[in-house]
Symmetry: C2
Subunit: 374 residues, 2 copies
């Protein structure tokens, strides 16, 4: 899958010796990490700036020790920060957001002597999204008929928009400007539902395998379609085609089949379609409520997965009769982590946000220069 490259490439390529400034978003299922690192083959210092890149990494929250080991092994705490010349007072503090910043604060203190400086979750998502949308030229795209179309963001016409972050659960946030936002809705039917329910139904061991399986499946095997009820006909009166889903998983009622008799691919497909469609619908209803035409979808659920984006796009298009547009973000899973990172206030030191970014390289590293105080 396309989206995979972002964190997988960085695992191998990351010049980890030079890490400084790391931020975490510790969610219910995943820990998302963003860090700044200088590059070995480029001059590291350039006047008051350091050349480097923002790198992206993820861990499972249930395997938090892998995250602690990573931070510890790379000696972020001492060598990295000292090398980069940041104030020594920062060295035992990491910006962190998500519920895990509360839940695991003691663990970080105990194991690494690091204090987590908590950044509010919604605030992180919003500042992460705002930063990425403004600073990264090809961050946002629509997904129509299997095609990514990158959207040029007009900095003067970005707000208001609806930010839909699909993590374990889903948050929907109306964003009116930098630091101006309100969480207006959400749903518990999110990525955790897909992964949790999908694991129970298919015995699949990983989220990405489950997504991949859904790609091979056919939802018509288990979903009850309009045509199944209407004898193959459309229900024209209310504009539902015979292939529209009348009832997700509804066909399982009348068929005397056990779970094991269904192909796990088909189960995964129905589940993905149910959840994506539901999120698209609730997002649209909230956009409508506040007159928002732009809906940006982020969060680790999406994973650049074509069918997920397609279902969400079609749902928004169907319910809004083409009025609202679903857009996706290249760094979808890292909005909160980027937002927490922004809290280091390095951004304010830059002449303007455009100069932050040289290029978005293939593996998702954002090249940038950060201001140093010494």
């Amino acid at each position: 899958m396309e989206g995979d490259r972002i964190e997988e490439a960085t695992l191998a390529n990351s010049p980890v010796d030079e890490i400084s400034h790391l931020a975490l978003d510790i969610g219910g299922s995943l820990i998302k990490m963003v860090y700044f690192s200088t590059e070995k083959d480029k001059p590291q210092k350039d006047g008051r700036f350091l050349n480097g890149g923002l790198y992206f990494l993820k861990f499972e929250t249930s395997k938090i020790n892998e995250c602690l080991d990573f931070i510890s092994s790379k000696q972020l705490r001492c060598r990295g920060i000292q090398h980069c010349g940041f104030p020594a007072s920062d060295k035992n503090i990491i910006k962190a957001t998500g519920g895990g910043a509360f839940k695991f604060a003691d663990l970080f203190k105990e194991k690494l002597d690091i204090s987590l400086d908590k950044v509010e979750e919604m605030s992180s998502l919003v500042s992460g999204a705002n930063f990425l949308l403004k600073a990264v030229p090809s961050e946002a795209f629509t997904y129509v008929n299997g095609q990514r179309n990158y959207v040029k963001i007009d900095h003067n016409d970005l707000y208001p928009y609806l930010l839909v972050n699909i993590g374990s659960g889903v948050s929907m946030i109306k964003v009116d400007g930098d630091g101006k936002y309100e969480r207006v809705s959400g749903t518990s039917v999110g990525g955790g539902t897909f992964w949790g329910l999908g694991k129970l139904l298919t015995k699949c061991k990983s989220f990405d395998d489950l997504l991949e399986m859904s790609h091979q499946g056919n939802n018509r095997v288990i979903d009850m379609l309009v045509g199944d009820i209407y004898g193959g006909m459309d229900y024209l009166k209310i504009g539902l085609s015979s292939t529209a889903i009348a009832s997700s998983f509804g066909k399982a009622i009348s068929e005397n089949k056990e779970l094991e008799e269904y192909k796990p691919e088909d189960v995964a497909r129905s589940l993905l379609r149910m959840i994506s469609n539901n999120i698209g619908q609730i997002a649209y209803l909230n956009a409508l409520r506040f007159g928002l035409k732009k809906i940006f979808f982020g969060g680790f659920f999406i994973r650049g997965h074509a069918y997920t984006m397609d279902t969400i796009s079609v749902a928004v298009d169907f319910w809004s009769k083409g009025e609202a547009k679903a857009m996706f973000l290249r760094h979808e899973g890292f909005l909160g982590a980027v937002g927490a990172f922004m809290n280091y206030k390095l951004v304010e030191e830059f002449p303007n946000s455009n100069s932050l970014v040289g290029d978005l390289t293939d593996n998702g590293i954002i090249e940038c220069r950060v201001h140093v105080s010494s």
Copy 2:
């Protein structure tokens, strides 16, 4: 369960010899039947009126032969109708709604020589709901803290309202008056999802057993709660308590448990809560969109089940901050069938709709007098 009595009592008590005027609502999962029958111990004819009752019955759509056998064995086609003195031209025609009125039209013709006179599905739901709300004094009720509170319907202040019919799928209809309505939304996550997915997950064989199981379960075993993410704390900033569900089925991600290691009761509970809450939320968002304060929930999914009604009520109350009210209908599952029955145009013959109903007896029979033409 309370709701069960409606159709179960009639199976035993129905004075089936005297059946006339029968209507069907043939859905994706269930066939709902409403028929008028005179009563043996009362004078059957009273001037231009017949004393009798409206009776309610259901069959599974996958066992449609049971429905055909019932109609055939009770000789509805000849004795009943002739006995009641309705015009002979009616005798081979039955009013029917739902997708099955299309799908099974040939089957009825072939097996019983009966033609199904199709009544549009949304139109039936609306006329059924309007009739019941106006004609049956204790039809609608709220459900708060385990308590049914019957609502007195002001005939002059009934419209507009949102009708949410939860069958296999869910339809949401804005009702502005008799015959004045629009299907404004819906969701494929409905009763068919609860039953279908529930069957796959728990191997439970009947819808009512699944509901009963959910009553015994605890959703916190599998749902990821806000407190699970925030280390037991509330997420106060956005008003979510530690016990709010952050991600339905989300806890299944991190626990290395197979489906069989969970109690089916807990699985059924999480599923019921997920679906009820989702329907409540989407209903509220649609009510908000059109400024509707009254939301009536019908359809066979509810089954008078306390936890379902409680979850829907709490969802509507939570999302609307107390502004909108969820109400339920005593004959919830039979709106479409009653609506199709109304299409016999008997109602127009009554002096006023109140005189239609003597009482709503314990088993849900609506006592009434119908006008006869001879």
